[in-house]
Every structure is written in structure tokens, then in C-alpha cells.
Symmetry: C2
Subunit: 407 residues, 2 copies
């Protein structure tokens, strides 16, 4: 117990200091003071190597700034508020490709002209998260109205008719549901429902639907989470069906932990810990070089993705959140041990001591493979979200276990 307290205190200090360093990097290098929004293509030192604006990352950075502004006294800074609003307004002006149509671009030029559009829901999901958070910190109802109307469009695409996404269906196209879809929708349900009973009630049924869809991805007699299954929850043929993404399973895991906790369902909580935390961690962890594989094949074939054995930052941040949350909810020692194992590897391998922020992409052996700090898929999101959530959870644990502890 005493040893656990020391562990928690040590990690509390680590994550708090690291959150400050990471946010300093983004605040220094990423603000586009001319057009609003954020540069995310930043090299090791923070230099802008491309000025394209990826909508996922614009929405995520707005969300992150608002979250910190709202929840952490030391981040309650006009600078964060202003940058978040400028980012939100950039999205509001430019994200939608053909307004009033709700489809958003995947990537925009620096001044907001669309470059590419993805035929998925994710740009729109991060737009929604950004707008809901902006409403929370500004109280301006236009942001919440935009969030709710985008959410309605998302629900329509996901539950009623996806044709508006433009994904063509052919005779041989498999009826595949990626885990990422119900996972992101559950994330949005949680986002809207936080301290908002009316919204929590409005999306309660949707939340149940997401949770049941996520649980469908537990396959092979409960031994494995598969990334793609049919809409009825059956395994798909070939590589697509056997594909595993341990980081997604773990991320879905902590959304499901929140869901089970909110429902007050300890049986579901145990199920989620076993299926979405322990099993993906055990099968996804590289026994030879440590770290979580990016992809696996459930039957042990070699995945066809060139990057399958690389170690990416975000599965590790999601694993940290998931195991610490599991420990908060259950007090099980094994979950704290796994948190420490993952956090140790992650802090040791991904942090850039020289220039701040984290490397995103290591090779299998744990050597930095890409020196970029941000790019088309890495921005100001997974690292600070993980650090902020861990800081909050560690604070809560410490005040529970050591009431005299001062953060």
C-alpha cells in the first residue's frame, strides 16, 4: 500500500511535468496567427515542414485546448482560449466541403481550401468534439448548435444510411464494421453527456447501441478483439477479418470502462477489463523488444501492412489511460502493474528530451524511425490527452488513498 502510494506520487509528478513540456511545444510552434487553426506538420525542433491543415488534427487540438482550459487551473489561460476559438472558427469557416452539406474535408490548405475528402466519419467526429468543448468554455450556443447538428448527421450516416459518405459498395465489398466507428460514436456520446443530463438522456440509447456494437468485436470464443466484423457481429474472411489493432482495442476499452461505470454494471466492467485491456495487452505486447505492435493477425500470419511491427505513440498512450482507469475503478493490482510497465516503456522511448513533445514512430526495436513531432495523423491530442487524464486520475487516487496528499 505504502509502495503503491509512492508509485502513484512518482507518476503524478512525471505526468504533470510532462504535460507542461508537451503543451509548451504546441503553444510555441503550432499557432497560425494569420489564418487561425494550427500547423501540425512540425519537425523534431518544431519547424513547420508543411502548412497543410488536417481536419482531424484541427478539431482535436481545439478540443484539447478547451479541455485543459476547462479542467486545469494552470491552463486557464487567455492564450489557450484565443487559440481554441481561432481554431474553431477556422473549422467553422472551412471544414465543410460544400455547405450546407455536412461532409468535412480531410485536409485543407493553410487558408482553408479543401485538398482531400475521406469517405469516413472521422473529420466530422473531431469537428463535433471541438464544437461541444468550445460551447463548454465559451457558453456560446452557436458552438453547441453546430455540434448537435453534426452529431445528427453522424448518427444518420452510421445508423440509417452511409451513402452520403461516398463510400462505393460493389458486389464483392464485404459488410465490414471497423471497431473505430462505434468507438468514436461512444466517445461522442460521453462527450455530450458530461455534466449534461439532457444530452446524456438524448443519447443514452445511442450509447447502448455503440456498446453492443463494440462488444460484437470480441470474437474467437472471447479470446480476441478483431478490428473488423460484420454488422451482425460475425467474423469476416481473409486478412480483413483476422486484422487486430491492439491500440484501438485498448482505446475502445477505456471508453467502455466509462460506459460500464456510468451504467453501474460491475459484470460488464470485468468483461471489458478482460477482453479489451488484458487480452489485447498480452497478445499485442512484443515479447522480444517490448512495446505494443501496431497490427497483428489473429492467426499469427504476417500482416501485410508495412508498418505492422512498428511501435506508435498512440497505442501506448491509450494503454496508459485504459490501465490506470481500470485500476481506479477496481483497485486491482495487476492493472497498476501493467500501467507502470507501459508508462515506463513509453516515457523512456517516446519522449524527446532535447526538443520536447514525443516521437510518434519507432521501429520494432524501439529506435526512432521518424523524427517528426507532428504530421498528417499526429498532432496535439493523444499525448496531452493521456497526460491530462492520467494526472486527473492520479490526483483522484491520491486524494482517495492519502487524504492528506496535496497535488
Amino acid at each position: 500500500m505504502e509502495k503503491d502510494l509512492e508509485t502513484l506520487k512518482t507518476w503524478k509528478e512525471h505526468v504533470q511535468q510532462e504535460l507542461d513540456r508537451v503543451m509548451a511545444f504546441w503553444m510555441k510552434h503550432s499557432h497560425d496567427r494569420e489564418h487561425g487553426g494550427f500547423f501540425t506538420c512540425l519537425d523534431q525542433e518544431g519547424r513547420v515542414y508543411d502548412d497543410l491543415k488536417y481536419v482531424w488534427l484541427q478539431g482535436r487540438q481545439v478540443w484539447m485546448y478547451c479541455y485543459l482550459y476547462r479542467k486545469f487551473e494552470r491552463f486557464h489561460l487567455p492564450e489557450l482560449l484565443d487559440a481554441a476559438k481561432a481554431g474553431g472558427d477556422f473549422l467553422l469557416r472551412h471544414a465543410q466541403v460544400a455547405p450546407p452539406g455536412k461532409k468535412c474535408a480531410f485536409v485543407l490548405t493553410r487558408d482553408g481550401r479543401p485538398v482531400k475528402v475521406q469517405r469516413t466519419i472521422f473529420s466530422e467526429c473531431f469537428y463535433t468534439m471541438a464544437m461541444n468543448e468550445l460551447w463548454r468554455i465559451t457558453g456560446e450556443s452557436q458552438y453547441q448548435n453546430l455540434a448537435v447538428s453534426m452529431m445528427e448527421q453522424l448518427v444518420y450516416w452510421v445508423q440509417k444510411d452511409p451513402t452520403g459518405l461516398g463510400q462505393p459498395q460493389y458486389l464483392g465489398t464485404p459488410d465490414a464494421e471497423p471497431l473505430a466507428v462505434p468507438m468514436m460514436m461512444l466517445c461522442l456520446v460521453e462527450q455530450f453527456g458530461e455534466s449534461d443530463e439532457q444530452m446524456a438522456a438524448k443519447y443514452a440509447e445511442l450509447g447502448d447501441w455503440c456498446a453492443s456494437r463494440i462488444l460484437n468485436h470480441v470474437q474467437r470464443n472471447g479470446t480476441a478483439v478483431l478490428e473488423n466484423v460484420t454488422e451482425e457481429g460475425c467474423e469476416l474472411a481473409g486478412c480483413l477479418g483476422r486484422h487486430q489493432n491492439p491500440g484501438h482495442a485498448l482505446e475502445a476499452g477505456w471508453f467502455m470502462l466509462r460506459y460500464a461505470t456510468r451504467k453501474g454494471d460491475p459484470k460488464l466492467l470485468d468483461h471489458v477489463i478482460d477482453k479489451f485491456l488484458l487480452k489485447p495487452f498480452l497478445s499485442g505486447w512484443d515479447p522480444d523488444h517490448e512495446g505494443l505492435f501496431y497490427f497483428k493477425d489473429v492467426d499469427g500470419f504476417c500482416p501485410t501492412q508495412l508498418e505492422w511491427s512498428m511501435k506508435l505513440w498512440w497505442p501506448h498512450t491509450e494503454a496508459m489511460v485504459a490501465f490506470l482507469m481500470g485500476y481506479c475503478e477496481t483497485g486491482k493490482q495487476i492493472l497498476l502493474r501493467h500501467f507502470c510497465q507501459i508508462a515506463k516503456y513509453t516515457f523512456h522511448k517516446f519522449r524527446d528530451r532535447a526538443h520536447g513533445e514525443w516521437f510518434g514512430y519507432l521501429n520494432r526495436e524501439g529506435k526512432v524511425a521518424l523524427t517528426i513531432k507532428g504530421g498528417p495523423f499526429k498532432g496535439c491530442f493523444h499525448v496531452p490527452r493521456c497526460l491530462a487524464m492520467c494526472e486527473e486520475m492520479l490526483d483522484a487516487l491520491l486524494s482517495r488513498l492519502a487524504p492528506g496528499y496535496k497535488s
Copy 2:
């Protein structure tokens, strides 16, 4: 001179033996005797780990079988002819997504139902190559008619109007021409024109157009080949503009060597050797671990593609062909030395001594990263094409330099 002859003889033996081993692998494991066409998702031992049929690879394998059947006495086998015809007929029945529309699928189910369609020209290019070769070995005019009508569609997409490909253009979409497009079109011009004066004349002007477009990719005062430039031959902004693909530059190099030779243009030949062979080889070769990088950024930024530093089999096979062809055409010692350097690395690192064929994907340090022998982008093509062409070129060199030499 005597030493060069020994070198050429040694490599002649190596490539000939290796071609036999490689073809034995595909003939043993890849034929789908039920539906026609080929399994290309083969693991290290040749087991089928997915039965999807990628149209690029179906067309390429048909082409490869026909080429060997037509040019090598030891491959003039009924088994190759039958498999090539069955593969061609599979394409003929299933490749086009909505006949008579010419757009072909990217990937089909085992029995030929379309799964995905790419918004590029490459499925159609490999379909065309396959049909022209099938006509050459069977004499059946239906194949040549299909090849010619697909070629007309390709020329229309590339020179007149690409909207039929379905690639949407937005306000911020850059006017980018990938090197791969004029390179593939020049490959087709050469394909049709081989020993066919009528077709050579028909596509002569197109060949000139392709060559001039390819030369547009030489940028930075002649110091670098860039993968994407504007249609007017100007550099593009950002990562897209700075992107380099040494393997593509070298592959375009040997198409351009054939073009310059056919034109009898020694000045162009020298230009191509300098810009498309020597410079991409020198800047693309990894000084620390040998082998050709997959991607580079011309300004030395870290590329954003996770696989940028991996060593892929095909840039190495293309480099072998390019340098040996350059040596055949000019007799320059440096080109033979580079051929030997690349061939030595390639044979040492990519060949699978245990199960035949080659690994396709090594990490930067040269360790096998994916054990697959075939997948969505690797089939029976680059390895045997390289070995067959090298065998032919080495034979020609040896009969020229040592008239008494018997292959």
C-alpha cells in the same frame, strides 16, 4: 576486361538459376485451378493466407508468364501458356467493374466480384500489358483488340479528361502529376511497339509526350528527380512537392534508356544516365546500412510515410535493370560497378534460401520485416522481370564480348 567477363559470367549464372527458383515458387503455389487467375497472398512457405485477387498483380503475372513463354526456350511450357490464358480470361470476365465501361477494379474476390476500385490508371495499364502479351503468344486477335481499346481509354484519361477515373478535384487540390503516370504510359508504348512497326508508329507521338513529361520531373537545376510536379513541370509546395521515390526514378530511367536508344539519341542517353540513374542511386542509397530508401524528402526533412526508410525489393530490382541496361548501352565501367553493388546487396538480403522467392520488405537495417512472399502489391512480376531481363542483357553482353561463350 577479363575480370569484367568473369563478373558477367558469374552474374549470368546467378540470375538464371534464381529465375528458375522464383518461377518454380509461383507455378507451384499461385495457380487457382478452379476460377483461373492467381493467388498472390502467399506466406513465406507459399501458403495462401488470403484469396483476394489484386488486378495489378493478375495482369502482371499474365504478362510475366507470356514474356517468359515467348522469350525463353526453357519456359516455353504448356503449363505457363495455360495459366496465362486462364489468368487473361479471368481478367477479361471480371476486371471491368461496369462493362462496357473500361474502369477496372483494384481488387476482386476469388470468383471475380469487385471489392475496391482505385481512382488511378494502373489496374488498366497492367490489364493492357497482359492482353498485348497474350496476343503475342496466342495470335488471337481478341486479346490485341482488348489491349488497344483499353489503351485508347488510358490515353483519353491521361491526355484529355481524367474525370472518368473518379478522382474528385477540390479548390485546394494541387495540380500534381505523379512520375508513375507518364512512366507507365511510356512502358505501354514500348510494349505495343516491340517488333510491331504499325503500333510503334501509332504511338510514336505519345511516346514523345511521355518522355517530355518524365523529363519535367528533373528539378532543382538538374540535381533531383521529384515524384510529383505540376503538369507544366514546376515544383509543388510542401511534402508533396519535395517527395522523392528513388525506385520510381530508376524504373523511369530504364524506360527512358530504351526510349533514347530507340531514338538513337546519345545526348539524351547521357542525360538519363546522369539524372535518372546516378543521381537517384547516390541520393537514395543508405550510407549507414546499404540498400535504397523507399522515400526521401529532397530538402532532407523526415518523410511522413511510416515506411520511408524501409528497403523494398522492387526499387532494387529496378536499379539492377537500369544499371545493367546503362552498361549495355554505353560500356561505362561505373554502371557495371553500381550494378554489381546493388545486385550483391539484393541477392544477399532479399532471397529466401529456405523456401524460394524473395522477401519484399526489410527494415532499414536490412532485417526481414514482413515474411510474406506476395501480398496486395507484391506478386510474380518485379523479381522475375528483373532476372529475365538481366539474363537477356548478360547473354547479349557475353555474346558480344566473348563470341565463343555459350549460355
